[in-house]
């Protein structure tokens, strides 16, 4: 009779969560399995083989595109997370002030616009700038990606800030900690899960982007998604699966490393 009453339990939630995880992983699992298919098919299993990995490894275009995707995502997510965290600090836990609504609207703007619109608009504007400056490097892509990553980094940070307990910060202030010290020692650590979530979202959104990249890229600037979009018209072989599997493994490696480094610090 003295059964422990768990206040955190909600009936059925764990089941739904498990279902969610299965749903999330099933397609990925199939994807990875078929990367090892001997045959050319994405559907019929014809035996185990590494031939598609060999093919992908020998494909320079794929390697370059993958590397470029990672570089752009890393920069865009970093810049976006920094800008978004600052903006979140500036727009939460305050009385309403003039311009606050304007800031919300601005920061969330990239979410309100279908990608194709931003893409064409950016094409017109950036290509003019390219002609003027003579610079046509990755900067444009990084800038464009940073812009649409900001709201994705901003939302989790803001959600976190809004639920944060002010008591610790005012306690620190009462103990004569400088605002900066309070921020570094109290606010930032409390905020960290939001920042990490924001960074991850931003990174992934950048990695995923097809349409804007397609329009903004200059010569020789294919990312993995635009490379694969080009392949859409032709035939899809398990080489695409192999590339995806490698990319997945690489990303997981990076995130895992990130995860452990973070833990050590804590």
């Amino acid at each position: 009779m003295a059964r422990y009453f768990d206040v955190k339990r909600q009936t059925g939630f764990a089941t739904i969560a498990i279902v969610t995880f299965v749903l999330l992983y099933l397609p990925i699992a199939i994807l990875v399995i078929y990367a090892f298919n001997e045959g050319e098919s994405l559907a019929n299993w014809e035996g185990f083989s590494l031939r598609w990995f060999v093919a992908a490894a020998n494909n320079d275009a794929v390697k370059q595109a993958a590397w470029r995707s990672l570089v752009i995502a890393a920069f865009a997510a970093t810049f976006a997370t920094i800008a978004a965290t600052m903006a979140a600090l500036a727009t939460t836990r305050t009385r309403r002030y003039r311009g606050l609504t304007f800031k919300y609207a601005m920061i969330n703007q990239p979410l309100m616009v279908p990608e194709i619109v931003t893409a064409v608009a950016l094409l017109i504007v950036f290509s003019q700038v390219k002609v003027w400056t003579g610079y046509s490097g990755l900067g444009y892509l990084i800038l464009a990606h940073t812009a649409f990553c900001i709201p994705f980094a901003y939302l989790p940070v803001r959600a976190r800030l809004e639920n944060m307990d002010l008591a610790l910060e005012s306690a620190a202030a009462d103990l004569y900690a400088t605002p900066w010290k309070t921020f570094r020692r109290i606010t930032l650590p409390l905020l960290q899960p939001g920042i990490v979530a924001g960074f991850m979202l931003a990174f992934v959104i950048s990695l995923d982007d097809v349409v804007i990249t397609e329009f903004v890229k200059s010569g020789g600037q294919d990312t993995l998604p635009t490379y694969m979009l080009g392949q859409l018209r032709r035939v899809i072989t398990p080489e695409v699966n192999a590339i995806a599997t490698l990319f997945l493994a690489l990303s997981v490696l990076i995130v895992t490393a990130f995860f452990f480094i973070n833990r050590q610090k804590a």
Partner: protein
């Protein structure tokens, strides 16, 4: 924290400089995705000491929009036949005079005086092909040399048809099927075209690009699609047969042209001459499985392509094949509206 910042700054500097590192001995090709044989490029790089970069696009309009906007950095582009007059008219192409190049003698005579580039002052053939019917004959073995396969499908094929998602090709086939001509403004006929497409679409399964894997394995039993992909399907499943729509089918040819604001026009000209060599042209075809328009390249082609029925138009269907010209802006707008209504 400090270390991280140093790394970020260093990497930023690296990324910024990467864009500036445009040395001599380069060639930037802007081409359709998965359309350029890497071996061809390796061979060219080895012969001429030029570093080649390929960037992909997925539609003629994307390529056109991008290049017209400027600041793109490409040397070579590969537009489809009916787009070349636009590129020329908009002043985007360099008059490279490939007809005066050493290897021009290899170009098949029928591809020299083409309507979109008479005498070949701007462009050289890359690959050509056409849209046609692919049917799994184990499902349906009636007459397949007709657009009726997808416009008035036999019962066996209903809901098993895939149609290429290309507005112009589908509109063309339908207009021809109903007895009209391309670029017609005949409203009566166009109304029939719309009604026919709306009705036929309910009997299609998809309008997708994934024919080469789905036709052989039976997800689709019939397609209206490009010949190269149907040939590849036949190699995977011998039941697949190719049909030439007798009412009319569109032919495409993508041609290599040099951009007026190319940074490396000389290398681009070298490349033009290079791909008119039969042995090199065969490399192009070996990758994407379409014919190339260079005489004498057949002998270097992979064996399965040498006598593929899908790559040659038989004499009796020659008149049905047609290169689609650009319609007037008003007519294109009309066609787009019909297409929108069909796709709603």
């Amino acid at each position: 924290m400090k270390h991280m910042w140093k790394a970020v700054v260093a990497a930023a500097a690296l990324a910024a400089s990467a864009g500036l590192a445009e040395a001599a001995g380069e060639l930037n090709i802007y081409n359709w995705g998965d359309y350029t044989n890497p071996e061809l490029l390796k061979k060219f790089e080895a012969e001429h000491g030029v570093k080649v970069t390929v960037t992909d696009y997925d539609s003629n309009d994307t390529a056109l929009a991008k290049v017209r906007a400027g600041g793109h950095g490409f040397d070579i582009v590969v537009p489809s036949a009916n787009y070349i007059p636009i590129w020329v008219k908009e002043g985007l192409l360099l008059e490279a005079r490939p007809d005066q190049m050493e290897n021009f003698k290899n170009v098949d005579k029928r591809w020299v005086d083409v309507p979109w580039d008479p005498g070949r002052h701007y462009s050289v053939p890359w690959q050509w092909g056409f849209s046609g019917i692919g049917v799994n004959t184990s499902v349906y073995d009636g007459d397949i040399n007709t657009s009726a396969i997808f416009l008035d499908p036999p019962a066996e094929l209903v809901n098993k048809i895939n149609v290429e998602p290309e507005m112009t090709d589908v509109m063309f086939a339908t207009i021809k099927y109903l007895g009209g001509d391309w670029c017609t403004e005949d409203r009566e006929l166009l109304k029939k075209v719309r009604d026919k497409l709306v009705e036929a679409k309910t009997k299609w399964l998809a309008m997708d690009y994934s024919v080469t894997e789905k036709l052989p394995r039976g997800d689709y039993s019939a397609v209206y699609y490009w010949n190269g992909a149907i040939m590849r399907s036949r190699l995977a499943n011998p039941d697949i047969k190719f049909g030439f729509p007798k009412e009319g089918f569109p032919i495409f040819m993508d041609s290599v042209a040099i951009l007026k604001d190319a940074k490396n026009p000389e290398n681009a000209k070298l490349f033009m001459n290079f791909i008119m060599d039969p042995e090199n042209a065969a490399l192009i075809s070996a990758h994407a499985k379409y014919a190339n328009g260079i005489a004498g390249s057949e002998q270097y082609m992979p064996p399965e392509m040498k006598d593929a029925p899908e790559l040659v138009i038989p004499a009796e269907y020659e008149d049905a094949g047609e290169f689609l010209e650009q319609c007037s802006p008003e007519v294109s707008q009309l066609y787009t509206r019909i297409w929108t209504e069909v796709s709603k």
